[in-house]
Amino acid sequence: MSKSMFTISPGFEEIMPAEYRELVEHGPFGKELGVSDLGTYKELLEEHPLCAGCGLALSLRLILASLPNPADTVIVGTTGCNSLAFPQVAVHNIHSLFGNQNAVASGLKRALKLRFPDKVKDVVVVAGDGATADIGLDMVMHSWFRRENITTIMLDNEAYANTGGQESGMSMEGTVLNMAPKGKKFPKISLPEIARETGCDYVAATTPANPKRLERMIRRAVLVARETGPTYVQIFCPCPTNYKFKPSEAKKRTRDREKDGSYRIREYITPQAQELINRIEGVKSDE
């Protein structure tokens, strides 16, 4: 996207909404910003309608702050709590149907490659655990099999939160949730391992407890998807509303799950992706 396209025509500054003006004047486009710059610039997410203490809201802010090239990024979302925030996100984003996000992203990425052969256009999927691991799993996996150049990010709150807290494939075994009145009967789906085995060049599982780590993983995932092949990042996003804890405890819960090993932080990187990461991050450390 060129800056001139985005600039407000002279004389129209006053009638544009304040948050749009702020975006033009202090937004992240064309700047090298990251999570440590949060608070110093106008974020892509204009407030949000999610619950207090929502892990998704925090993760989404961090993801958007970590995008390496927001001016040329299109996000594909789908039904879920996080989608409620997307009308307030300042990059082009698509909500199609529940679960079809990776198929939509496949078509979109190929279309943008055709139309902008000499330009980087990152396509990033952001979806919940139900959308990614349950209803959309076939399309998620087939986009990986086909080696689509897209990044898939799962916001994992371990339930269908938007519909009132039902069990998802990503819920922990034994957890009592709606539609799992006697506790979930099977283990959490190992999607990072499935991603590794189905062709993702970069896979990471993390939490928003450590923003710099999350940022590094998102950047790696987007840059590897751009150059090499499909990538997957899974982010634990605890849900105070459905798991019934105080909003202020969200971060502690995240740390506890990391500590007790029930949410394992991990990265799987193919040699090809590692080479690219070394090149990119090596250049950076030389600066």
């Binding site: 996207m1 060129s2 396209m5 985005f6 749009y20 975006l23 204009e46 001016a71 040329d72 990024t73 299109v74 594909v76 989608s83 409620l84 997307f86 009308p87 307030q88 996100v89 300042a90 990059v91 082009h92 984003n93 698509i94 909500h95 199609s96 149907l97 079809n100 198929a103 939509v104 992203a105 496949s106 078509g107 979109l108 990425k109 190929r110 279309a111 943008l112 490659k113 055709l114 139309r115 902008f116 256009k121 076939d138 399309m139 087939h142 086909r146």
Partner: protein, 380 residues
């Protein structure tokens, strides 16, 4: 890529010298797509559509199409097609029968998202019991999805309607999807003479910025833009926004009438429309009706034919006018639901004149004698 000259749609449709070829309906799809200047196609096999999209794959390999792939199922394919269309390219796909139903959730969203996708539907029966045979039942389900629906009688129609559908669907004041329906097997798997323009010419390219909605490419404002935003808050403004958006989709289809007139010569065609007995049909039922009318004429019975080419928008006013003086209206169909008969009945002033049938389904052919029997009955 193979070099082709871009020509005016009118030239390609009406002026270019055409060669007569003896080809199958599936091959007619290939020949249309060769000249359609599409950017991309996505395929998935289902009988009786499979050959069409594999032939489209062949012309991708030959260099007529920049991008092509096989998806994992119809819902995924129609979703990928939506993503590509939102990314601003001209795209084609095809399916039929159970594939149509598998993908069903996507069609209203194509319309709601104002995507000018052209999809061919090679119709077939729907389970259960399992059938792969000809049947137009899926069209009954598609009637209220918001997409335009054209029904081809033969391979020539199929070829022409696909090309013309792109030009109609992509107009800024329309910009909704178009389905080109054709009776599976009867047209796809049989050979017929088709007049075809030279293969070194093609339609003008799609201009994504002519769309009435923003293209998802971060190259057009506003950047704070979601496709397609929810209007699901529990308040009247949300309800009103959703309601008016839906009305606008229907209005867009209605506005397409002028382009259907221009490119397809009207939403319907008439033969001997002054007759007391009229047959209203679409698809291959038109050909069977024409045979029946010729047989009736030999017996001294006069009957006319109305061939409906556009099911959505539906030629309501035209039918109302033409049928005003008719004594009987026969509606033969290749499905058990009788959806065309319902459409006709919802249009004509006196529904008692409408004879719903003959209807064949489950793969049966429709001998003209069946229609002739109705003509005879109506003439008594």
């Amino acid at each position: 890529m193979i070099e082709q000259r871009v020509v005016d749609p009118e030239y390609l449709f009406f002026s270019a010298e055409r060669e007569k070829r003896f080809i199958t309906g599936s091959e007619a799809v290939k020949e249309a797509i060769k000249r359609a200047n599409i950017d991309m196609a996505v395929s998935y096999p289902i009988t009786p559509q499979s050959e069409s999209m594999h032939l489209v794959g062949d012309i991708y390999a030959e260099g007529y199409i920049p991008e092509y792939f096989r998806g994992e199922n119809e819902f995924a394919v129609m979703s990928a097609v939506a993503g590509a269309s939102m990314g601003g390219v001209r795209i084609f796909t095809a399916t039929g029968g159970p594939g149509t139903l598998r993908a069903f959730e996507t069609f209203p969203t194509w319309a709601g998202a104002r995507l000018p996708i052209v999809c061919a539907f090679m119709t077939r029966g729907v389970n259960s019991p399992l059938t792969i045979q000809p049947d137009t039942i899926e069209m009954a389900f598609m009637l209220d999805t918001g997409i335009m629906m054209f029904h081809a009688e033969n391979a020539q129609d199929l070829h022409d309607m696909i090309l013309k559908a792109f030009m109609i669907a992509e107009k800024t004041d329309i910009h909704i999807p178009a389905g080109v329906f054709v009776d599976g097997f009867f047209v796809t798997h049989t050979r017929d003479y088709v007049d075809i323009a030279p293969e070194d010419i093609k339609l003008p390219p799609y201009n994504p910025y002519s769309a009435p909605v923003p293209v998802m490419d971060m190259e057009n404002v506003p950047v704070r833009q979601m496709r397609d935003p929810f209007v699901m808050k529990s308040n009247f403004i949300s309800y009103a926004a959703h309601a008016s958006w839906q009305q606008e989709i229907l209005a867009a289809a209605e506005r397409a009438r002028k382009y259907i007139d221009k490119y397809m010569g009207g939403l319907l065609e008439m033969e001997n429309e002054g007759a007391d007995i009229l047959i209203i049909a679409s698809g291959t039922a038109v050909s069977q009706s024409r045979e029946a009318i010729a047989m009736a004429r030999q017996e001294g019975i006069d009957a006319g034919l109305i061939k409906i080419k556009s099911i959505r928008p539906f030629p309501k006013n035209e039918i109302m006018e033409i049928t005003r003086k008719a004594k009987a209206i026969i509606v033969p169909e290749f499905n058990r639901a009788g959806w065309l008969c319902r459409e006709v009945k919802s249009t004509v002033a006196d529904t008692t004149k409408v004879v719903g049938g003959p209807r064949v389904f489950g793969g049966m052919t429709m001998p003209p004698e069946l229609i002739l029997a109705e003509i005879r009955r109506c003439s008594e």
